[in-house]
């Protein structure tokens, strides 16, 4: 292409990236390096600033990886995230399809879009308190409704049952984020050239075909963003599990970030173990991200074009 022209402008690439780099180095480099180093030391307790590198450098990592709580936390994080994310992406895509398709003139679309995002505005602390009240035992709105309609015989202790606790946390996450995901996808769809849709109409595509063969592939870049940020957010799940039942009952909703927080703040201030656990999580997240990038790269853009052209050609033949 115009390689010659862009090459001489390359220095602007560096120039425009400078603010980011400066801010990063000023504010984040020190804390990140500090955390990385601490994982290899014996720093714990408040007020201690002196620390010594451990003779066995990976001792903290071993302690973390072999602790039952960490293993449970990792398992919980993944499980809760999957239960939360699959409905989330399904409904987000569903609503995106409904609200951007010219075939479905749903009146009050604007109202629905606004309302679906609202749960994201509420602070996690408020949400946790409200849901605690909703599912309390023995008296709570949920228990009252279920017993009154005879669905269950006597009040169910939602907070002692490990399954229900996990499901509730997953639901809260879904509730808080499905509108957000939908808005991101809609803004991506708004960026697609409407002429492509017009061409699809002319070709006589059904709405399903339009959605799956055109919209989704064009949303590929945004979908990549959504998947990666959802994965990172999921593996970093912290505020709701901690505020709802503080990882309980019996570690059923303990996620890895709550585990890390406990190491640092449950009483012993074991920053070294918290840092080691953070590094372990960073590696896991990095590996998963690479996997997701690969997954999206396989859908080569030329292949998508080929599919579209193929589809158009097929239509011509049948007409």
């Amino acid at each position: 292409m115009e390689k010659r022209k862009t090459f001489s402008y390359a220095r602007y690439g560096y120039l425009f990236s400078i603010p980011f780099i400066v801010a990063f180095m000023l504010f984040w480099l020190y804390p990140i390096l500090y955390t990385a180093i601490i994982g290899f030391t014996d720093l714990k307790g408040i007020g201690t600033t002196k620390f010594h590198f451990l003779s066995e450098p990976f001792k903290n990592f071993k302690t973390v990886l072999t602790s039952a709580s960490f293993k449970t936390a990792l398992r919980n994080t993944v499980v809760i995230w999957i239960i939360n994310f699959i409905p989330q992406i399904v409904f987000a895509l569903l609503f995106t399809a409904w609200f951007t398709s010219p075939r479905c003139k749903i009146r009050g679309q604007g109202f629905f879009k606004i309302v679906f995002y609202m749960p994201n505005i509420m602070t996690a602390a408020t949400v946790a308190v409200l849901f605690q009240a909703l599912f309390a035992y023995p008296t709570s709105p949920m228990n009252d409704i279920l017993t009154k309609f005879g669905i269950i015989a006597s009040p169910f202790n939602f907070e002692v049952s490990k399954t229900s606790a996990k499901l509730i946390v997953a639901f809260i996450q879904f509730w808080m984020w499905y509108g957000y995901t939908m808005i991101i996808l809609i803004s991506g769809v708004l960026g697609i050239n409407p002429e492509i849709f017009e061409a699809a109409e002319i070709d006589g595509c059904t709405s399903a075909q339009t959605f799956f063969r055109i919209t989704i592939p064009c949303l590929r870049t945004i979908l990549l963003y959504t998947t990666i940020t959802a994965m990172i957010g999921g593996l970093n799940m912290y505020d709701i599990p901690r505020l709802y039942l503080n990882g309980g009952p019996d570690n059923a909703t303990l996620t890895t970030n709550v585990y890390i927080y406990n190491q640092a703040f449950a009483g012993s201030y074991m920053y070294n173990r918290a840092a080691a656990a953070s590094l372990i999580m960073l590696i896991i997240i990095a590996v998963c991200s690479v996997a997701i990038f690969q997954m999206y790269k396989e859908k080569d853009p030329t292949k998508v074009d080929r599919k579209r052209r193929h589809l158009a050609a097929k239509k011509e033949v049948t007409e």
Partner: protein, 286 residues
Amino acid sequence: MKYNLSKVKRVSKPVLVIMYIVCIFFAILSLLPFVVMLVNATRNTYQVQQHAFSFVPSKYLLDNLKILNSKDTFHPIRGFINSLIISSGATVCAVYFSTLTAYALVAYTWKLRGAFFSLVLAFMMIPMQVTSIGFYQMMYRVHMTNNFLPLILPSIASPSMVFFMRQYMIPSLPLEIVESARVDGCHEFRIFNQIVIPMMKPAMATQGIFCFVASWNQLFLPQILLTNKQRYTMPIMVSLLKGDIYKTEYGAVYLGLTLTILPLFVVYFLLSKYIIAGVALGGVKG
């Protein structure tokens, strides 16, 4: 060739009804806790302790307001201004500089581009829990506490926003326009500010809302860094309402929470037209 969309095959009636039912169900689901919160703001502590969830508003709204005003630490106007300064500052910095950084990644080919993008992604993956400890310890050491700058300036480096802007720009930014502007003799920076930014409006509005909400609701870092009463943000003031567990005035707390969220609604409604309207990006035809 303009195609008459009125001839488009509409979905069948029953399917439309199902769609409406689903949408209304989710709308109720999303609004429910807000209604409860508003209702609780009109009840007093005793009522809230007995039945935390209720749809029947009571008559204690003014009493709760009085309680809030009597609290030595609750000054909603000052808290609002403080929160506004921090959140707007952080949002403007994040949105503008993230778009700039994303533009650098997309519009130009430079040697370290791939490495830089990997750095941005890596930064995004770091669990923020432990780094925030190092962050506020660092701030205490350089005596930057009780200052709004440590809460605003770091957002210049917002990796996930850079990522989003880049993903958005790649399919929707037509480099031909940039080329034609260059031919016209525009400076790169002017091109960015006068051509690229207007085109990125939906993305910037969307991310702007998210950033503003996140910054507004943030409690941990501001609480640790701002210990001067004059600098308290709204969430800090509301958290102070929850004193010892046996003396919390729940009705007033809910009112405080409602007041905290109110400005967010305003901002959201102001920017929401970018989400509803179809500001499509197809600027270049052919």
